[in-house]
């Protein structure tokens, strides 16, 4: 009867507002926590990547040449190596790594440094500590290593990306790890993308949703998506590395790697790992295609395949790519399955083909963090930054691609 009575239920309204505020605050809080954690992670990594170091050399590089090593030509570097190393040592190096004549400038510089100069980082202090307590730290170093050079060192350098693995943190690089990761990802996408999208098309477009077999299939795929990655590692070890060793080692193709612990096995294992997620996300993208679009196509006398190929897939592609991006990111960071499949902790040869042995960035990071010497944690931090950069650039490429495609619609 009286309208103002209805409108002025103030007690109720203020309670509702309070709850509204509470939830808004709660969500803001969770977001802020997330950002803080991310910030801490990045700060810690950067803190370890740029440090104040105390370095002592066994041989002063100035006695080897009149210019810094980096500026010498490849021939001059080879000359220095031949003059300063015993022939037996040279032969070992050429056997383990590559003939001197085939090495590039970066490799040769690294070799001169490891074999002759032999610099050793005696101590390394994280960035923020060094900035705040510089004088104190320098005094400390002087008392322990009177002849050490003290300077700021960025562990993440262009050289770090180009150098091979090494047992010495000062000389170790991530070239093989980056290449290995990219190779593995390449194989993963190559295998998982067509199979995953194909399976999703079958399940969404062709399979009868009411049939028992297809329902069981669907449930199983969803369960597989939740299986821990280490299990896939065991599967990969049993199937690709052992049972199919003839194929994965390349023996049947005449390029025997010696065992099945190759990029091919790693990539196939990763493909299996990401396949269920890829199928599910592609299915979701296909399901989001409006029925009106399919009907329009069918009503013009199009076959099922023409409808899928010309309308459904183009419409779903941005969504499928988004799923692929997320999945590939996951694969790039996976470590456990590759440990089982046999990533090598020390290889000096770059991966040449799918039948090469390999290491990957996350595996390398893991390896370095478990070493006792503190300097390994510095290069692990640098490698983390590399991994993040590779991840971000892969994602950025895929996002640009996706936006291009969805603009066309």
């Amino acid at each position: 009867m009286n309208r103002s009575v209805v409108l002025s239920e103030t007690g109720n309204l203020s309670v509702r507002h309070q709850w509204g505020k509470f939830f808004q605050g709660l969500f803001l809080f969770s977001t802020v926590i997330g950002l803080i954690v991310l910030g801490i992670l990045i700060v810690t990594v950067v803190d370890k990547t740029f440090t104040l170091v105390a370095v002592t050399n066994k041989v002063d590089p100035a006695t080897l040449a009149d210019r810094p090593l980096e500026e010498l030509s490849e021939e001059e570097l080879r000359q220095i190596l031949r003059e300063n190393l015993r022939p037996a040592r040279l032969r070992t190096i050429e056997r383990d790594q590559a003939p001197l004549d085939e090495m590039n400038q970066a490799d040769l510089t690294a070799l001169v440094t490891t074999e002759i100069v032999k610099p050793t980082t005696r101590a390394s202090y994280p960035l923020f500590q060094s900035l705040t307590r510089r004088a104190e730290i320098e005094a400390e170093i002087r008392s322990e290593y009177p002849d050490a050079q003290i300077y700021f060192k960025a562990w993440l350098t262009w050289d770090f990306l180009q150098r091979s693995m090494s047992t010495k943190p000062d000389l170790a690089g991530v070239r093989q790890a980056v290449k290995g990761s990219l190779w593995i990802i390449f194989i993963t996408i190559l295998v998982a993308f067509p199979i995953g999208v194909g399976a999703a098309i079958y399940l969404e477009e062709y399979a009868d949703h009411r049939s028992r077999i297809n329902r069981i299939l669907q449930t199983n795929i969803e369960n597989l998506a939740g299986v821990p990655s280490i299990i896939y590692g065991i599967l990969g070890l049993a199937v690709f590395v052992r049972t199919l060793a003839l194929i994965t080692s390349g023996a049947v193709f005449g390029v025997d790697a010696g065992s099945g612990r190759t990029i091919l096995s790693g990539g196939l294992t990763m493909a299996l790992l990401v396949l269920p997620i890829l199928i599910i996300s592609s299915q979701e993208a296909l399901r989001a295609v409006p029925r009106s679009l399919r009907e329009a196509s069918y009503a013009m006398g199009a076959t099922r395949w023409q409808t899928i190929w010309h309308h459904v897939l183009p419409y779903a592609l941005p969504g499928i790519l988004t799923g692929t991006i997320l999945t590939v990111s996951r694969a790039l960071g996976e470590t456990a399955p590759l440990i089982l499949v046999g990533a090598s902790s020390l290889i000096n040869k770059d991966p040449q083909s799918v039948f090469s042995f390999f290491t990957t960035l996350p595996f390398q990071i893991y390896n370095w963090t478990v070493r006792p010497q503190p300097e390994f944690r510095n290069i692990a931090a640098a490698a983390i930054l590399v991994l993040l950069a590779v991840l971000l650039s892969l994602n950025a490429t895929a996002i640009v691609l996706r936006n291009r495609l969805s603009k066309r619609i």
Binding site: P290, E295, A296, Y298, A299, M300, G301, H310, I409
Partner: protein
């Protein structure tokens, strides 16, 4: 006259047509004879099976799990649901325009050309596109923008693009399921004018909610309603003028005078 010849008089003829979704009978015992090159309107309350009947004419219901039919739908004397009939081919002869305009997310040109191309059209595509767009009374509005997306057009233009797209496949019959329900009155009138023009060359069957539209734009009207167990039945069918001025059935009269329910 033999039975074969008799059925050739009609664009489509249904005999004891029953349509089911699973166990649910949506349409019961419909005997309907569609006259060629005329506009036939199907009217009736919501849920009485108008769309179900219409979609059974070009086998669009095949995609609904559990759908099945009994009886016959004859097209050129052939049952559309005979085992040897290819539904894809049926849809090339019997095109469809939907309730909500649904152009492909492609250019205007591609929207029209696509259907012809997948049906193996080998002639001059530009001519075909222009012809279809002219026939759909859209050419003058879009001739300078054929590369623009079909989705950039207004609702009424989109619906005419969908008609042009259907025409490009060269069908005999065009089914329209409430083609104007998403359009404003002016766009609606344009479509009605267009239907009138098209009926010179095509058989048109239109489902509509709008009684004035049926009265204005159709030659024949079929009135459907639901019986006790919610199955759609055809109450009355005849020339539109007769249905609207002199309905034989009480239920038709109640419906068209707005006394339904």
């Amino acid at each position: 006259m033999s039975e074969q010849n008799l059925s050739n008089h009609f664009a489509i003829e249904t005999r004891n047509l029953n349509l089911f979704y699973g166990n649910f009978r949506a349409v019961k015992d419909v005997n309907l004879q569609i006259v060629p090159r005329k506009i036939t309107a199907i009217i009736g309350p919501s849920g009485c099976g108008k769309s179900t009947v219409l979609r059974s004419f070009n086998r669009m219901n095949d995609f609904v799990p559990g759908f099945h039919m009994e009886g016959e739908i004859l097209f050129h004397g052939k049952n559309l649901y005979a085992p040897d009939v290819d539904p894809v081919q049926v849809r090339q002869y019997i095109g469809m325009v939907f309730q909500k305009p649904n152009p492909f997310p492609k250019s205007i040109y591609e929207n029209v050309a696509w259907g012809a191309r997948i049906n193996g059209y080998k002639g001059n595509m530009d001519e075909l596109v222009e012809g279809a767009l002219r026939a759909a009374a859209l050419w003058d509005e879009v001739k300078d923008n054929l590369k623009k997306s079909g989705l950039s057009l207004s609702g009424g233009q989109q619906q005419r693009l969908c008609i042009a797209r259907a025409l490009a496949v060269k069908p005999e019959i065009i089914l329209m399921d409430e083609p104007c329900s998403a359009l404003d009155p002016i766009a609606t009138l344009k479509i009605e004018d267009l239907m009138r023009e098209l009926s010179e060359n095509y058989t048109i069957i239109i489902v509509t909610h709008n009684m004035q539209q049926a009265a204005r734009a159709s030659d024949y009207t079929a009135f459907f309603t639901m019986d006790e167990d919610r199955a759609g039945v055809m109450v009355e069918y005849g020339e539109t003028s007769q249905i609207f001025t002199n309905p034989r059935d009480k239920r038709t009269e109640d419906y068209i005078t707005g006394r339904f329910g």
